[in-house]
Symmetry: C2
Subunit: 331 residues, 2 copies
C-alpha cells in the first residue's frame, strides 16, 4: 500500500508570483505578516493566483482505544459514541464553530464498538485493520475541497498521541504526556507509566508510518493520517487541529520527512506535548488560545485567518490602480 | 469635559452565570481556553446570557501629523488621504477583511488638510482641538453596536504612539520606537531622536489623558480615545487593533487605571513597542501574526475569534441535554 504520494509538491512559481502581487498591494511590503505567507502558500498548492477557500470541509474522525481500559482518561470510553451522537444533533462545539466559520462538517466514526487493542500490552491494530482505517480517512476527503480541516474525537487518544510523538521523536514519556480532558496528578503519573510501558514494548519496531500507526495509533489516528495523505495527492491545503491530529499526521514524516508541507498548524493546544511536537515538526501554529478540546475546534477558528489572508490577497488594490504613493526611496 | 465615565463596569453576576453555563456544556471544563474567558467577558459587559456580536462596527480614524515633516516615516504624508480614498473605493486590506469577517466599516478622516503641530517642537494640538477630535470619535460609536473594532490610518502615527507610550510608562525612546511602515536604520535612529526630543519637551506636563493626547497625540489618536470612552459608557466591548490604537486607548488609563476593562487586544503587532505596551497594560493579545499594517486589520481578524466564542457559548448542548456522561469522579 502506498502511504503517501510525494510527487505532489508546492509550485514555487505560483508562490513567487503571489509574492510579487503581495508586494504591489496597497500596504507596506510585508505588513500583513503571516497572512502574506499563508496566501502565497495556498497559491502554491492550488497552483493559481485566484486561490479559493470557500469550499472548506471539516473532517472529524472518531475512534475508541483499548488503552482507555487502563484508566488514562478523565472520561469513560462511552463518551466517544455519545459525542458522535452529539455531533449529529448539532450540540457540540465544532457544530457551532462550523457555522461561525462556515465549513461542511463530516463526522466519520470508525468501528466505535470495536476498540483497538491496549497498546501498552500489544499492537493496537494489525496492519490490515490499520490500512482499512487509513483508507477510510483517505476516502473521506472530497476531491473538490478547497481546504480541509482535520480533527478528532476519541476517549484516551491523547495517550495515543503521546505514544506516537514519543515513538517519533524520543525523549521520555513525561515530555509527551499531558492532562488531556483534565486528569488529576495520580492519573497523570499513571498515564506516563502506561506510555513508557508502550514505548518499551514497541520502540524497536517503529521504522515506518504504518508501524507507528498500527502499534501505537488508533483507528481515528490512522484515518487522519490517510486524510492528510490523500489531501496531499489532491494538492489540497490542510489545517491540522491540536495534539492528537498533529501526532497522527506526524507519523507520515517517518516515511517522508516533508510529508506535511501542505499542512498548517491551526493552533497550539494547552497540552505541553503539542508545543514540543510542533517545534520538532518546525510548524508555527496560527493560534494560541489555550484550547484543549479537539474536534477540530482550534483549526476551525484558524480557517478564519486563512480566509482573511485570501480575501486580502484577492481583493486589495495595487498602489498603481489606487494611485497611492510609494515609499520615499521609490519611484 | 468628562473624558471617561467609569460608572459602567462589568457585571460580575453575568460573568459568573456565564461561567456556570460554560461548565455544563458538552466539553471538558475549561477546554475552550480563552474562548471561555471571552464569552464570559462579553456576557458581563452586555449584561446578558444571550450575547451578540452580529452588529459589529469597525471604526477607522485617519489623521495627519506635523511630526511627519521630520522624516520619521517611510511614506510621504499625502498617503494618509490617498488611503482614505482607497478605503472609500474598497481597495484596502480592511475593506476585504470587513467582508471576510463581516462588519460595518466606517472611515472617519479628521481634518487631513490640517496636520497637527510637530510635537517635537510644540504641543500637537491645543485642548480645544483635542476635545473636538475626541468628541468626533465618541460620536462615531453607534449606540446599537454589539461590538466595536478600533483602528487607524495616519502617516507618522507610530511616532505619536511611541511618544504616548513613553509618556505613559517611561523608559527611553528606543524601547518604544519601531520601524512602522518599514523605515531603514538611519530613519529609525532619527525617529528615536525625535521621540526623545518630544519627551524632553513635554514630560513635565503629561499628568492627564487630555495632556497626553493634546501634546503627543494627533487627531485620530484623540478620536480613538473618544470612541473607546464612549463605548465604555454604552457597555459595548471593544477590540483594539495594533500599536497605534492601543497607545491612543492607553492614554485613558492616566485618568482611570481600569479604563480599558471593556477592551480586548486583537493582536500584537510586529512593532516591539506594542508588545511592551500590552505587557504594561496587562493585556493578552488574541493573535500574533506579525502584522504591522494598522487599519484595524489585526482586530478585524480577532473578531472572528470573539464570534466563535459566542457561537460556542450560545449554541452548544449541555451534558444533561445531550445525555453525555461526565467525568469518572462525577455523578
Amino acid at each position: 500500500m502506498t502511504i503517501l504520494n510525494t510527487t505532489q509538491t508546492i509550485d514555487e512559481s505560483f508562490v513567487q508570483q503571489a509574492r510579487t502581487r503581495l508586494d504591489h498591494l496597497t500596504k507596506p511590503q510585508g505588513s500583513l505578516g503571516r497572512l502574506e505567507d499563508i496566501a502565497a502558500w495556498v497559491c502554491g498548492w492550488q497552483r493559481t493566483l485566484t486561490p479559493r477557500t470557500h469550499n472548506a470541509h471539516t473532517l472529524i474522525f472518531a475512534g475508541n482505544h483499548g488503552v482507555a481500559a487502563q484508566g488514562v482518561s478523565a472520561f469513560p470510553a462511552e463518551v466517544t459514541a455519545q459525542m458522535v451522537d452529539n455531533f449529529s444533533r448539532g450540540g457540540a462545539a465544532i457544530n457551532q464553530l462550523c457555522q461561525a466559520v462556515p465549513s461542511s462538517l463530516h463526522v466519520i466514526p470508525l468501528m466505535l464498538e470495536t476498540p483497538t487493542q491496549d497498546f501498552s500490552t500489544a499492537p493496537a491494530m494489525n496492519e490490515s485493520e490499520c490500512a482499512d482505517a487509513f483508507n477510510t480517512g483517505a476516502n473521506a476527503v472530497p476531491k473538490d475541497a478547497d481546504i480541509v480541516i482535520i480533527g478528532e474525537m476519541g476517549i484516551a487518544n491523547t495517550t495515543s498521541a503521546a505514544a506516537l510523538a514519543y515513538g517519533l521523536f524520543g525523549g521520555h514519556a513525561a515530555l509527551w504526556v499531558g492532562r488531556g480532558t483534565g486528569i488529576d496528578d495520580a492519573r497523570l503519573t499513571h498515564k506516563c507509566d502506561v506510555v513508557e510501558k508502550a514505548y518499551a514494548l514497541h520502540a524497536a519496531y517503529l521504522g515506518s508510518t504504518m508501524a507507528l500507526l498500527s502499534r501505537l495509533g488508533g483507528r481515528e489516528m490512522a484515518a487522519m493520517a490517510g486524510a492528510v495523505a490523500r489531501a496531499r495527492d489532491l494538492r489540497i491545503p490542510v489545517i491540522l487541529d491540536g495534539y492528537v491530529a498533529t501526532a497522527a499526521a506526524a507519523t507520515l514524516t517517518r516515511d517522508h520527512p516533508a510529508a506535511l508541507a501542505h499542512c498548517i498548524s491551526g493552533h497550539v493546544s494547552a497540552e505541553p506535548g503539542h508545543r514540543l511536537l510542533l517545534e520538532k515538526l518546525d510548524m508555527l501554529p496560527l493560534l494560541q488560545l489555550n484550547m484543549r478540546l479537539g474536534e477540530g475546534s482550534g483549526a476551525q477558528i484558524a480557517l478564519a485567518i486563512v480566509r482573511a489572508s485570501i480575501a486580502a490577497f484577492t481583493g486589495m488594490a495595487t498602489f498603481e490602480s489606487a494611485s497611492v504613493s510609494g515609499k520615499h526611496d521609490e519611484p
